[in-house]
């Protein structure tokens, strides 16, 4: 069976799996943003927390993905459904780039700008929302971009625990020793990653702060 024939015959299933893949990646990225950005902000305010938070995120990052999926299986509620489990694992992996980039983005705001803002009487919240976050936006977005690209690749492994997504085709193809089936999973995943990368890269440029001439 060649690649194009397989695609043509299974286009509905491939579309289904692509959507499932996209769903896992989107939800886990949203969760990681909701947790990672506040954590990144927190460690700019409480420097003593910086090391433990970054170290924890670092350690999670080093756990092999297949093992992490396995570790989470016995967890209550989460372990009941493979989809939940996959989303949790992907969220954990996406945390590090988000925390690190939020921290770096805020810390990278020019010292004089922050000092002037404080000196003129901005409250902590005003400083954060009017000055620091807007100026850190492009760096934070770069973190989201990395997180998404990593997630799209990692989510293929989620099929190993039955969470679906494009990994399903890859594992099936491996079992059947059929390259066409593997490619039918791998190519849409790769395209998805490229597309997300380009789109967010463009957005990142738009948000980059104006530099001194």
């Amino acid at each position: 069976m060649n690649f194009w024939n397989f695609i043509a015959q299974n286009k509905l299933e491939i579309a289904d799996l692509t959507l499932e893949h996209l769903w896992m990646v989107s939800i886990s990225t949203l969760l990681a943003v909701a947790v990672g950005i506040p954590l990144g902000i927190l460690i700019t305010r409480r420097p003593s927390l910086r090391k433990p938070v970054i170290a924890t995120a670092n350690i999670i990052q080093t756990i092999p993905s297949l093992a992490l999926f396995g570790f989470l299986l016995p967890a209550p509620w989460i372990g009941d459904r493979a989809g939940r489990l996959a989303i949790l694992a992907l969220t954990l992996y996406a945390l590090l780039p988000l925390i690190r980039n939020t921290y770096a983005g805020i810390n990278g705001v020019e010292h004089a700008v922050v000092e002037a803002a404080r000196g003129m009487g901005l409250t902590d919240w005003q400083l954060l929302f009017k000055v620091e976050l807007p100026l850190a936006a492009s760096v934070i977005l770069a973190g989201i971009r990395v997180a998404i690209v990593i997630s799209i690749g990692l989510a293929t492994i989620a099929a190993a625990i039955g969470a679906g997504g494009l990994g399903e085709l890859i594992f099936r193809g491996l079992a059947m020793v059929n390259n066409a089936v593997i490619l039918a999973g791998a190519i849409p995943a790769a395209l998805m990653a490229l597309l997300a990368d380009t789109l967010l890269g463009w957005l990142e440029k738009k948000l980059a702060p104006q530099r001194a001439a």
Binding site: E110, V113, R118, M120, A213
Partner: protein, 257 residues
């Protein structure tokens, strides 16, 4: 002891770092209403620290600092800072805001009506000698001198009675610096703010200061008017006058010619 005219009053103020290093020692100083008091000193003399204690960007370790007769620590810190304009050498304009928004930020967060903010911004742009067309530009599109003018305009935005200025003209070329110093002086004559001005440049101190306070290693060495400063017998003051003497004289000659 209580002088009703003292707007800023350092009462035996010391500041040390968490590691115990002393930056300011037992500073006693009063800034009178409407004067420009210049804090003169070399790098590391504690002059910037003294300035930041006033708007509580740093918290003093010992002693008491009064602003408008009230201990600074009893002020609500946000209210205190909005009562005091602050201009620094690196300006610190918000790169993502237009000049208009940069200048109008404090009035805007103080909930002034929009038209009043716009009017105030326009007024300030002209007051600091800028062209109205800079309003919609971004900081990176301006020259260093223009940015510094915007910095001064921003410090004046909500019309605070006190100004803290930390070498605001330090990073400019000599000609622009001299322009801005003169303009600032005439501006001050109009506005009558109480100004605490930090510099390491004796020429600037002589030009702007009502009085000059010389700091060295966190201690106040002398405080005097300009004339007294030039004729002082204090060895450190003498050294300053000597180092700057040639330029002071030559500028004097130029003025006479």
């Amino acid at each position: 002891m209580d002088s009703p005219q003292a707007v800023i009053e350092f009462r035996d103020v010391s500041y040390h770092l968490p590691n115990g290093r002393e930056i300011l020692r037992h500073l006693i100083l009063q800034v009178q209403r409407g004067e420009i008091l210049v804090l003169l000193g070399r790098s590391g003399s504690g002059k910037t620290t003294a300035l930041k204690l006033v708007n509580r960007l740093l918290e003093l370790s010992e002693g008491e600092l009064r602003v408008e007769g009230r201990p600074a620590r009893k002020w609500d810190v946000i209210k205190l800072r909005r009562h005091i304009g602050y201009a620094i050498q690196d300006v610190g304009l918000f790169p993502h805001f237009t000049i208009e928004r940069n200048i109008g930020l404090v009035p805007a967060i103080e909930n002034w009506p929009k038209e009043k903010v716009a009017k105030r911004v326009e007024e300030l742009i002209h007051l600091v000698g800028l062209n109205g067309d800079v309003a919609l530009r971004y900081p990176h599109q301006l020259s260093g001198g223009q940015r510094q003018r915007v910095g001064v305009a921003r410090a004046l935005a909500a019309d605070p009675p006190i100004l803290l200025m930390d070498e605001p003209f330090g990073a400019l070329d000599p000609l622009t610096r001299s322009d801005l110093q003169r303009e600032f002086l005439s501006l001050q004559q109009k506005l009558c703010k109480t100004v605490l001005f930090v510099t390491h440049d004796l020429r600037e101190a002589m030009l702007l200061g009502s009085r000059i306070a010389l700091l060295e290693e966190g201690r106040l060495v002398s405080i005097s008017t300009q004339e007294e400063f030039l004729t002082s017998s204090n060895p450190l003051v003498k050294k300053y006058v000597e180092v700057f003497g040639t330029t002071l004289e030559s500028s004097g000659k130029r003025d006479n010619a």
